[in-house]
Amino acid sequence: MAVDRREAAIPVAAPPTTTTEHAAGAAIRQSSLWQDAWRRYMQNKAAVASAIIFVIICLYCLLIPGFWKIPGIWTSLKDYDPNAVDFSASYAGFSLDHPFSTDKFGRDLFARVAVGGQISIAIGFAATFMILVIGVVYGSISGFLGGKVDNGMMRFLDALYGLPYLPFAIITTQILSPSGSVSVWTMVVALTIASWFTAARVVRGQVITLKENDYVRAAKAVGARWYRVLARHLLPNTLGILVIAIFLELPGVVLGEAFLSFIGLGINPPTASWGSIAQDGREAYRLHPEVLFIPCIAIATLVLCANFIADGLRDALDPRTRES
């Protein structure tokens, strides 16, 4: 049997001096788990930079389209209406009037990409949220119950994994909107259905690991009923994993939406999403590549940032370094 001498022989951080001596002494460290995690996250330069860029992108999408309507603030700049068609300005190239150039219809891309971002990011977060909800429910039931139920649920999941992601999403969108025009919510549902599996598996794994902890046994020994054990002990301790999972699922969903819209099976013009803007730009990309590339760069940047953030979070919340 291993006697685990946790108060490690090699000190990692020294406890602050205690001045009071109650029988058992004062607390040896005074910070919460989240503070420790925050500090560790802040040390990861890539993660911090990514978080800043991510926030900037979100602010850009939120503020640019609506902001212009506020009089007195940007009066010196033009009104960047994403839907204002002006054929005379089509493919106008980069200028101060149109920082991101214009598209075929002369619509300003600076505003249009922002609006598109709203849709894309909204779909991203909505779908991610739903994925996590379904994943948590499925995964925690499977992990908590164990045995044959867990077995069955996981085999079912394995079968679903065999379905190709995008065709599955496409079929779902077609089923949900037979009229042919795909709404935002249809996209969200389709993408969720096609990609909840990994989240379920991750949550299940976490629940199974946590179940073995003595504090879960302690709760059972005291007579806590299963829902209390699940809600009070297991799920709160999966919070860390869930936060990381958000930033791991987000890229997949955003890319999924972009791709579907790009090939015309998702959000259709004139509604802007990064994918549909890219689709618009497909025609003339040889002559005016910016219409295609700019939304693609936006997508890539967002996805890259999300990955770095997830990495940073994982390091920050790593239970192995959490203690000691």
Binding site: M1, A2, V3, R5, E7, A8, A9, I10, P11, V12, A13, A14, P15, P16, T17, T18, E21, A23, G25, I28
Partner: protein
């Protein structure tokens, strides 16, 4: 000349929260063929001392900031990594606490043994393998030749520790450092391993440093004993002398805190163990004077204990102690209640 001479060794850890003075002025000598036991609780610096000798402390946060380690007259602290690698495994070997994690799970144990031999000796692979089989037999693993090709997970904890010992002995080192080698093992296995270490040590004329928190293990194996507390040596004596006449209040308290296996029935069941109140001091800001004063039943308040740092002095030939209140100089039961 002693085989190993450690002089005023100081190892500090430079962390975000401050400089942890993990080992703060440790000195001792070890003669060929003898066993030294280093005893202390967690955080006292015993493992760091051993790792410092081997140069195995993690170099970014840790650094040997003072003193020297003379092995056969050569200063190990002055050696480059390359030179140290020649010493490690070859002249000084180390075995660790947890046999589960000290062996590489993806390599056959035969490979792990021969790899050490081939790194230091100029022999052929076949010869190395033959030596490996011999070693496994020596440490008492049955069917050694067959088991050479097994992976670590096929061995029990005790067996794995034997394999570790085999690896350690493979190049016939002159010094073996064993850091809590039996803590993770069952007590019957522990006894076997300790007996084995003793046998091998005598056969190979090896010196041994045994690090442990277990006073019983030390009583069994050590010729000389060092008690460490808060990075310093607080008592140093031969094994018999230390247990017969403990001088330092901490040593006494440690012995008193041990549950007794043998003794009067009634006393054992009804009696209380000597509990040392409080906790070891913070090594970032160690107390200026005596580091044990806060927990010591004999410390004066506001007198020598809080102002003067006690030095290690020879209270009897061969028996050193660092305290202002050694047992033999105490007149009567003068226990004070400290703030």
């Amino acid at each position: 000349m002693a085989l190993l001479e450690v002089n005023d060794l100081k190892t500090h850890f430079f962390t975000r929260e401050g400089v942890v003075q993990a080992v703060d002025g440790v000195s001792f000598t070890l003669e060929k063929g003898k066993t030294l036991g280093i005893v202390g609780e967690s955080g006292c610096g015993k493992s760091v001392t051993a790792l410092s000798i081997m140069g195995l402390i993690p170099k970014p946060p840790a650094k040997i900031v003072g003193g020297d380690v003379l092995f056969d007259g050569k200063d190990l602290t002055m050696m480059s990594e390359g030179q140290l690698q020649h010493v490690r495994g070859n002249e000084i070997a180390m075995i660790f606490q947890d046999p589960m994690t000290s062996l590489n799970p993806t390599l056959k144990i035969g490979t792990q043994i021969t790899e050490t031999i081939l790194a230091h000796k100029d022999v052929s692979k076949q010869d190395a393998r033959k030596r490996a089989v011999e070693l496994l037999q020596e440490v008492g693993i049955p069917r050694a030749a067959e088991r050479l090709d097994d992976y670590p997970h096929r061995f029990s904890g005790g067996m794995r520790q034997r394999v570790m010992i085999a690896i350690a002995l493979s190049c016939s080192p002159r010094l073996l450092i064993a850091d809590e080698p039996t803590t993770a093992l069952d007590v019957t296995i522990q006894a076997q391993i300790l007996d084995l270490l003793d046998e091998l040590r005598q056969e190979h004329e090896m010196a041994m440093i045994l690090i442990t928190h277990d006073m019983g293990v030390v009583a069994e194996t050590a010729d000389d004993v060092i008690i460490m507390y808060a990075g310093q040596i607080v008592e140093k004596a031969s094994g018999f002398e230390l247990f017969d006449n403990p001088e330092h209040p901490y040593t006494e308290a440690l012995l008193g805190a041990l549950p007794q296996l043998e003794g009067e029935e009634h006393e054992i069941r009804e009696g209380r163990l000597t509990a040392i109140p409080g906790r070891p001091p913070d090594l970032v800001n160690p107390p200026e004077a005596c580091r044990f004063a806060a927990r010591c039943p004999y410390s004066d308040s506001g007198d020598t204990c809080a102002t003067v740092e006690p030095q290690l002095r020879e209270i009897r030939p061969g028996h050193w102690v660092r305290t202002a209140h050694p047992a033999s100089e105490r007149s009567g039961e003068r226990e004070t209640v400290n703030a």
